[in-house]
Amino acid sequence: MTLPMFLLLASALFSVGLYGALSQQAVVMVMMGLELMINGVIVAAAALWWFLAPQQPDGQVLVLVVIAAMTVEMALGFAVVTLLFRSSDADMTDMAGKLRG
């Protein structure tokens, strides 16, 4: 196992997630794309920690922060989706083109 192998996996996950986030119309599917992108970031951060400076715990702490950020994104994303649906009956990104409530 080498560092470029892990970074290639991370790039693939990130790009697939980016495709989903750009192309999906349903807000929930866009959030799944974002989750997949963060999944790639986790792989990249863990691999950089292991292959470059494993004695320093910074890389592990970064992975922990990324996992927490993913949870926060999920919770607030669903709150915003609920608000959007309640105020303008929108569950697709194209129906929420303006920010006015």
Binding site: L22, G33, A53, Q55, A75, F78, A79
Partner: protein, 173 residues
């Protein structure tokens, strides 16, 4: 052996990631994403990150269970019984994401990565725990404040009457 495990898990992670956006049923998409996260947790195990791997798998499986509920709530066609396209700007998305992949892959292969500076600790989980309770404590304190703010903000956003209205006001739906 480790390389075989890496390749298998990487294939599962990417293939189920692709499946998220290609299957018809939303339930299947959710479980495909959960499978992708489980495979990434396995990759973390290969890097001797047992705690972070288990944390990823447990959190993501729970999160995907919640996600399935929201899918049923918000999607027009959660079961995939009537296959229909829910995409926009497909060609642009393909071009952008393939371009990003080529860029990132070129970077990860061509950059002369430095050699490993020192050997990994005998127990990475112990090193993480000591860092979180010692030199990196500020990070965890910031994360806990962010998590609390998230709970408050999510409640304020999701409740029907918002921040200032009363339940008996005329605007009550």
């Amino acid at each position: 052996m480790a390389v075989v495990a890496f390749v298998v898990l990487a294939f599962v992670a990417v293939a189920s990631g692709v499946a998220v956006f290609t299957v018809d049923s939303m339930a299947r998409a959710t479980f495909a994403l959960a499978l992708s996260f489980v495979a990434v947790g396995g990759e973390l195990f290969l890097l001797d990150l047992g705690y972070l791997g288990v944390a990823t798998v447990l959190m993501m499986v729970m999160e995907m269970a919640l996600m399935a509920v929201f899918m049923v709530m918000f999607m027009m066609n959660p079961g995939g019984l009537m296959p229909m396209s829910m995409l926009h700007n497909r060609r642009g998305a393909v071009v952008v994401s393939v371009g990003v992949f080529v860029l990132l892959a070129a970077g990860s292969v061509l950059v002369p990565w430095p050699a490993r500076r020192n050997e990994p600790p005998a127990e990475p989980t112990r090193a993480l725990g000591e860092a979180v309770m010692g030199s990196k404590m500020l990070v965890m304190m910031a994360v806990s404040a962010v998590l609390f703010a998230t709970m408050v903000a999510a409640l304020v956003l999701a409740t029907a009457r918002g921040r200032y209205d009363r339940a008996d006001s005329p605007e009550w739906p």
